[in-house]
């Protein structure tokens, strides 16, 4: 009797377990989206904010029942790969995504990584959303890369023009880290400034990313007395130190960059010396952020302990991928369908107030729509927080 009871109970538990697991797995099919970017080393902040933005949004979607694509609710799973800012590893990461059957990947974060993964992505039918600026990635015959943010050659001229008109800026100096991204951003920024009629008083000074004292770096730049000092492609790690050194050397002019920054990092590293610093951000300032943006920030903070302001721009890539699939469910495993949809795709932008839209742009810069339309929000830093200086749209 006793043995029979045990057998019955075991059988019941086994059946129940199978039933429960079966139910759990049957709840929603899983849609895998990849991320290949840098989440370790000096530039870890760039990729980590990407990955965490995606994970936050995925958890949010899954918690609320999944994402509706063609009448089927999908749970979203983020598959991440740390490329350590190394193009060889970025290729390995993209190959891993291909082996996992993933067709949509966010990243890589830097120019050389994004260029390196192009053949793998094109051969394996992967659309990827790099945070890298080389135009060849987005110009035909290339067609699988979609720029995930506003490029410096789009934001730079807008910022310089604004400062010429509103602050009387006439002389500009550029300083950049001795790496491919910042150097190419410096060159295009300098060219744009000259095209606008600005006098470029210095654009040859560079620094190593591991510099611990920027005083000797900035001394020759400050001696040229620019009205505007542009920190081309500056990483959030270096920005506070550069600002602080410039101010301590007595520089009283404007300082700007075309990269996204983090308010907490600026406050800790430069304090009030960073007041007035101009950078590019997303829709996090109170006057622009929608209820969904506030909830995203709240969920991100709860998940990871601290929000990163860079995520204001990085929240968008996953949203674009999913919304485009929702517009054309055949794109879920067919990037050619995705590409067809991009030309006409339009959906409400959930993260901004007003009637802002999600749509693909880039025709002016690349001759085809290979850029997500994120608002060009130019911020100034004041007393620990960003304030919106102006908002523009890119095409």
């Amino acid at each position: 009797m006793h043995r029979r009871t045990i057998l019955k109970t075991t059988a019941l538990v086994t059946v129940a377990s199978f039933a429960l697991f079966g139910t759990a797995f049957a709840e929603n099919p899983v849609l895998k989206i990849g991320f290949v970017g840098v989440t370790s080393g000096p530039a870890a902040a760039w990729g980590t904010s990407n990955q965490r933005s995606m994970e936050t949004r995925a958890a949010w979607i899954n918690e609320t029942g999944g994402y509706d694509i063609g009448g089927t609710k999908y749970d979203v799973e983020i598959v991440s790969f740390d490329d350590q800012k190394d193009p060889k590893r970025a290729i390995a990461g993209m190959e891993q995504m291909a082996q996992a059957g993933i067709h949509y990947v966010v990243g890589p974060n830097v120019d050389d990584g994004a260029a390196a993964v192009r053949p793998v992505a094109e051969q394996n039918g992967i659309m990827y959303f790099p945070y890298a600026f080389p135009k060849e990635l987005y110009t035909a015959p290339a067609s699988n890369a979609v720029l995930g943010m506003v490029a410096n050659y789009q934001s730079g001229p807008a910022i310089y023009k604004y400062l010429m008109d509103n602050n009387g800026v006439k002389k500009v100096a550029f300083v950049a880290a001795n790496e491919s991204d910042p150097l190419s951003q410096r060159d295009s920024g300098s060219a744009a400034a000259k095209a606008l009629g600005l006098e470029v008083v210095s654009d040859s000074v560079t620094y190593q990313v591991d510099t611990t004292d920027f005083t000797p770096v900035l001394l020759p730049v400050i001696q040229t007395a620019p009205d505007l000092l542009v920190l081309s492609g500056v990483s959030p790690a270096n920005a506070p130190q550069l600002i602080r050194s410039a101010r301590e050397l007595g520089y009283a002019g404007l300082i700007s960059t075309e990269t996204a920054q983090d308010a907490a990092v600026l406050q800790e590293g430069a304090g009030e010396l960073a007041n007035g610093f101009i950078s590019v951000g997303g829709a996090s300032t109170p006057e622009l952020a929608s209820e969904a943006m506030r909830e995203f920030v709240d969920r991100y903070t709860k998940m990871f302990g601290e929000y990163n302001d860079e995520s204001n721009t990085k929240v968008y890539a996953l949203e674009y991928i999913l919304a485009t699939m929702a517009a054309n469910p055949a794109a879920i495993d067919n990037v050619e369908e995705f590409k067809k949809t991009m030309d006409t795709f339009e959906a409400p932008n959930p993260y901004m107030v007003g009637d802002a839209k999600l749509k693909y742009v880039g025709t002016t810069s690349f001759g085809q729509k290979r850029q997500v339309s994120v608002p060009l929000v130019v911020n100034t830093f004041n007393n620990g927080a960003f304030e919106t200086l102006f908002v523009a749209q890119v095409d």
């Binding site: 620094y207 790690a237 007595g250």
Partner: protein, 289 residues
């Protein structure tokens, strides 16, 4: 010119302090500690946590960095390097172990402190300005003075204390020191702890100026290796000289060569290669080790 010299002196003092810990460990145990930069970063994050997050005075942050890194160094020596050195006669075993510890500490730092750049508020406001010839913020002057004081304290410790004499004896001839009654295990542990503590202290000092981030460890180790190669590996005075020479070269190069792009380190590396071709043991090292 005065500004270039002042910048070089400031850079040199912090570099010398970083190199001291590395050369101490090398001289005592013949270990190239690739994790030295990560220890520097860890020390910076400890000071950041104590000062910026807990709101305690900066000096407590420095003390916490010193203690935690000293304990970490002692544990690494006792549980990792000592058994490997005992079991393996091949130098690359300790090098691989050191590289592994560096990767491990990188991962621990990412988990504990996150990926963001961190910094603590300035400990002194104001800028010293001598007729526009030397411009130096007061906090940098303070860090310069503290770094020089620490270097002097370290030299005094090595010269005038029993532990310092024992460590110097170990560095000169491990076997002879053992035969003379020096407790090799004990002083190896103390030496490693002291080296790690120095790395942590520099991290703590510089977090007020340069801030700290996850990626600073590797480049810091590379610079520290350059300094001890210039001065002579395993020689305390060589590490100090190497630090000041590198700091001065960097300051002069960044000013004089600025118009030609970022070729300062190219010139420094090229000079170092030529220098080592003629004097591979460094300025103060001995050709036999």
């Amino acid at each position: 010119m005065e500004q270039i010299l002042a910048n070089g002196l400031y850079l040199g003092a912090q570099y010398a302090l970083i190199a001291l810990g590395l050369t101490l460990i090398f001289s005592l145990m013949n270990v190239l500690n690739f994790a030295h930069g990560q220890m520097y970063v860890f020390g910076g994050f400890v000071t950041y946590t104590v000062v910026a997050q807990w709101g305690l005075p900066f000096i407590l942050g420095l003390v916490a960095s010193a203690i935690i890194l000293a304990v970490m160094g002692a544990l690494i020596e006792v549980f990792l390097f000592r058994p490997v050195i005992r079991k393996s006669k091949r130098d690359e075993s300790t090098m691989l172990l050191a590289a592994g510890i560096a990767f491990f500490l990188d991962a621990v730092i990412l988990l504990l402190f996150g990926e963001k750049q961190r910094g603590v508020p300035k400990i002194l406001n104001g800028v010293f300005n001598w007729d526009m010839r030397i411009i130096m913020p007061y906090d940098r002057i303070l860090i310069l003075v503290l770094a020089i004081a620490m270097i002097a304290g370290f030299i005094a410790l090595m010269q005038y204390t029993k532990a310092g004499r024992a460590m110097r004896a170990l560095a000169q001839d491990r076997m002879a020191a053992q035969l003379m009654g020096v407790d090799v295990d004990r002083y190896s542990m103390i030496g490693f702890a002291l080296g790690a503590m120095l790395a942590g202290l520099v991290g703590g000092l510089l977090v007020t100026i340069t801030g700290i981030n996850l990626g600073m460890g590797g480049p810091t180790s590379v610079k520290a290796f350059m300094m001890i190669m210039i001065g002579g590996a395993g020689v305390i005075s060589g590490a100090i000289a190497g630090g000041f020479i590198l700091g001065m070269m960097e300051s002069i190069g960044l000013t004089v060569l600025a118009a030609y792009g970022d070729i300062t380190y190219l010139v420094i590396f090229a000079s170092l290669m030529v220098f080592l071709a003629f004097r591979p043991q460094g300025l103060m090292g001995k050709p036999w080790g």
